[in-house]
Symmetry: D2
Subunit: 350 residues, 4 copies
């Protein structure tokens, strides 16, 4: 933390800031610059509250220096976190493809899509049972029945399943059925839900809030780790900007930043970023190109009849092409990598 | 809904869109333009799903025409909703000032601040008992004890109280103590919480999400009305933009839009928008100038010792000046208005 | 400038940063914190180039401390700049109303509008002769003939005129006719144009770029002052955000920041911020409420026939109401203020 | 264009809108919907001015249907534009790598960097002679001397050169020396400069404005095509958002949209998007993955001594790795593609 003084701050004002710093148990280190004095705060354990200084006479600005997160940071744990679920490993050295419909609509639908995406190389099946919808009048998901269908999909195809939890009330049920529990973009700072996730035995797939900074996103993950659950998968799904040719703007730089700052795996959801089918393939290729650890893609065997998000769902043959291309690019980006490469359907069929 | 065709769309493609429209029970009205054909959808009750058409051959774009909300709209209920709570009326013709600390820290603190803000003219007391904090290591509020302190403030000063609810688990407790229940910006699309609020007997103060459009905000309110609770107060608190000289960018145009589209009252939170004390007074004056129905302001008797948000909390004497100025402006903007004008401390002391 | 080291930076890496600082003629002051070392740079005259340090081993971050601007800053010149033009003073203690059509369309149109806005209390007339248009096929303004019409308006009504300059080639002509020269939002960082403005004898009305930070805006003004022209009026006109119910999002906090950081006057353009007539009156009242030094408003006697921006132009009777209300609010915000108060038509007619 | 009426609009109001449409020479087609009437405008040649209708009684909204651009659109010219310059082809089927320093600092510097980037496979050399700088006190480029150095680089290494033009005054000089003329992000809507570019014989590399929509960007290109110059290369370089871990947020979806809407080539500038060296390689790989037609990358042999943008400039060995990887990915994305593939240094050295 650095307290920057006004250019015309008096020595009394500087002394008062130094006194306030020392009262709080820190050390103060005044630095006369070309135009003004700045006062460094030293010997602090963790972040210092800026409000201690912002109101004092002669103070122009308070500049934080350290990052606020702790257990999620690579400085705390240098080696990459690998998350193993149902025989699939998510994390560095692997590229995991998660696919399935936006919402589970019926057993027939889920089975039909699962068959297609497994054949194309998906390693995890996705499908919503509890659906967060902007309108109270839209289809809200099949609920518990949706969870049961997901369990039957896992049994039938050997694919672990990921599904979203919307509240604490239904957390136990979701936990009982899902292999990975998703917390959606609108709940990224639902701190009660994050605390419950911290007590879960399941890996948590934590989507970035649509206007969250990377710091806020990592702090949301910190809630889960601080609660005792070290298995968090971060998922970038686009942020809200002035741009309107895609539903959100996919922030691919976030992947490099997260990989540098944190040991947690980070994947991309191109479907919700794009909101339109024709951008999903190029953004998926871009995801592997920036070294994300995987993608989560919406696929539907009859997108024009989907009860939600049909416009962004791929047809199965488009998804098969996508799998081939991301696997090929993965081999270039990560020559010795595993995971997705093994699922390449062309190799299987050989 | 308008389905816009590609310039080179064939008659077969146009016919296929018309057929799809009619299959869904709507009427189709093709319109040849200068460069392309657009097909209007008529005879629909409520919104039409765009995904029905986005994937069809020859379709360039799908343009929605109607707004998605219903019960919150002024077209549904033309007259303004007035919300009466503890003798104070919130809504058109009134300007309500809500004030208090960010968090309830102790009974002494709450009482000291309540005395000051009531004397200055505040009509409702605010204070957080359950605090949503970005960091799991920050002060999380006094919880139930905070609620009890709020009840004692109400008793001592005759001020109704508003406080935030963070989850369904604590909703009953908050409902038992609070006069108005706040749903915070991070929970604006916590749909489970909104549904619970729809079953509440208390008015709900619904903050706008930090990246929510007005449509999404009104749809969140729609959840509450659809659940059976017609008493919602909307609260604009700044949106996230590239701008960094204030914590958020206060979107004052939203007030005019909400007043036009909806019958619900809309107030402004200048403290969270600004994030810094020196912007709160000008933004409060601006709030009344754009005809918001009130403001909610953070005040602390010792901001430099506040456990949260001290940098943006006003000193009591600053708040007193604020009340005088917003009341004076209210008389200009709304010559026959009531509410805040009666609380003008200069008139009281006369 | 503060160079923040990685947590595991070695003493050699710290020494290398210190050496690099000293090589560049500055002083280095290492500060061991709780988790890492940060190194303050002292004895610098003006900003330090961050790139000197970002690439060095063990460096995590480089944090600037001082503001980049100089002559525009209040630290450089504490007293407010007042700009006198044609008998009107723009700056602290005054509230100036500038009004007129988006574009000068004909002498009849300009004269008709000028008569109306002068009667309502406007002190400066606005009208575009050279129009920046998104489309090459839209009306581009009357050019030189537009300038001549503006001169006749000044003569007929005694109002100084402001008009936009789009390039260096037409700068001399605009300078010959206009009392105040506007540089538009799209040219805020047209540095060649800013340099030319720095050699002008006219005051420059510098609009904020639609995605410019306040720092960038002030640096653009710095170009003009550094070039020798101290008379710059800043104009906030809304910034681009995800919000779409107004054309841009008016950033009223910017006024408080500019007033604090700079001695230059700052006004508001509510018309371009809103893009729709019904938001112009509330935003104008908000402008005076946040202590802007004036507003610039589009008015047209026949908005539905305007060649540009008709949707946001006020009818004359709406503008007259606006003048009355902003003047009333100005008296509250600035009890001893001058300028707009004198132009209050109700006082004139008394 | 669709004029949407209020729910309670009267038949008289609807008739008045129809009359206004017909007065302007268009056809009107009223469509009764479930809740309101919308009126389609037909038989128009090109866009209709919304302001004709926004002010009329009973009108709720005006919804544009057609895109505003013409010559740049794929509907106008379906086949891809290929731009040949100095033996290199830019456009569909090719992946062009442009590289060099941010600014030309000296002949030695330019030659040293050119040698490195050509060896690694760059096909075009970049370097700024006239530099747009936020601060008037920063290095502004070598000007004419910089242009002369670029000419010597072309002669020495056989690489065509691209450099930025900042104003009309220096356009002739830049045109005389450069093979491709760049118009920077801050000048994207400098319409006078765009008109001059429309009269140029050189290809124009048009960067997207930092807050421009794709429509505005294409309209800026339309200015150049309308002026007579059909050779425009679009360049996405990141947009301004709330995100601050990169200098700008690279909008990779824009590539898919531009490729669909326009026949012009579109490339990516990862260096200015990122603002930090460690994001340039992943974003470059992402650029080819989304089927951009090339990239423009900043490279410096001594980034820590660069006079501008050193923090984002690659070291030559990093650039060589980048060329290898983007070429490998290009072969996957575009199996039969040409251009960059031929410049692969590993194949050359074979």
């Amino acid at each position: 933390m650095l307290v920057v003084m006004e250019q015309d701050a008096t020595q009394e004002q500087i002394d008062a800031v130094v006194a306030r710093i020392e009262e709080n148990g820190y050390g103060a280190r005044p630095m006369p610059g070309g135009q003004r004095v700045a006062i460094g705060i030293v010997n602090n354990e963790g972040p210092v509250e800026p409000a201690l200084f912002t109101g004092l006479a002669g103070v122009k600005d308070v500049v934080p220096v350290t990052r606020p997160y702790k257990q999620v940071s690579r400085e705390f744990k240098p080696e990459d976190t690998l998350i193993e679920v149902g025989g699939t490993v998510i994390g560095n050295g692997h590229f995991t493809v998660i696919a399935g419909p936006c919402a589970v609509e019926s057993e027939e639908q889920a089975m039909a899509i699962a068959e297609k995406v497994r054949a194309a190389g998906a390693q995890v099946f996705r499908g919503g049972a509890f659906k967060p919808r902007t309108s109270p009048y839209s289809f809200q998901g099949l609920g518990l029945e949706g969870l049961r269908i997901l369990a039957r999909v896992r049994e039938a195809f050997g694919l672990p399943v990921v599904t979203e939890v919307m509240d604490e009330a239904s957390f136990d049920a979701v936990e009982a059925y899902a292999d990975i529990i998703q917390i959606g973009t609108r709940n990224m700072q639902n701190f009660s839900l994050l605390k419950r996730a911290g007590r879960s035995s399941r890996p948590i797939l934590l989507k970035r809030g649509m206007a969250a900074t990377v710091d806020e996103w990592l702090m949301a993950a910190e809630y889960i780790l601080a609660g005792g659950n070290p298995r968090v998968i971060l998922c970038e799904r686009g942020v809200r900007t002035f741009v309107h040719h895609s539903r959100n703007t996919l922030d691919l730089s976030a992947v490099a930043v997260v990989r540098k700052e944190s040991h947690l795996p980070v994947i991309i959801d191109p479907s919700h970023a794009a909101g339109r089918r024709d951008q999903v393939l190029p953004l998926s290729r871009a995801a592997v190109a920036v070294e994300a650890h995987g993608i989560m893609v919406e696929v539907h065997h009859q997108p024009e009849k989907a009860l939600s998000d049909g416009a962004q769902s791929l047809y199965p043959h488009q998804f098969a092409q996508l799998c081939r291309e991301v696997n090929d690019i993965f081999r270039i980006v990560k020559p010795g990598g595993a995971g997705a490469a093994q699922a390449d359907p062309r190799e299987k069929s050989a």
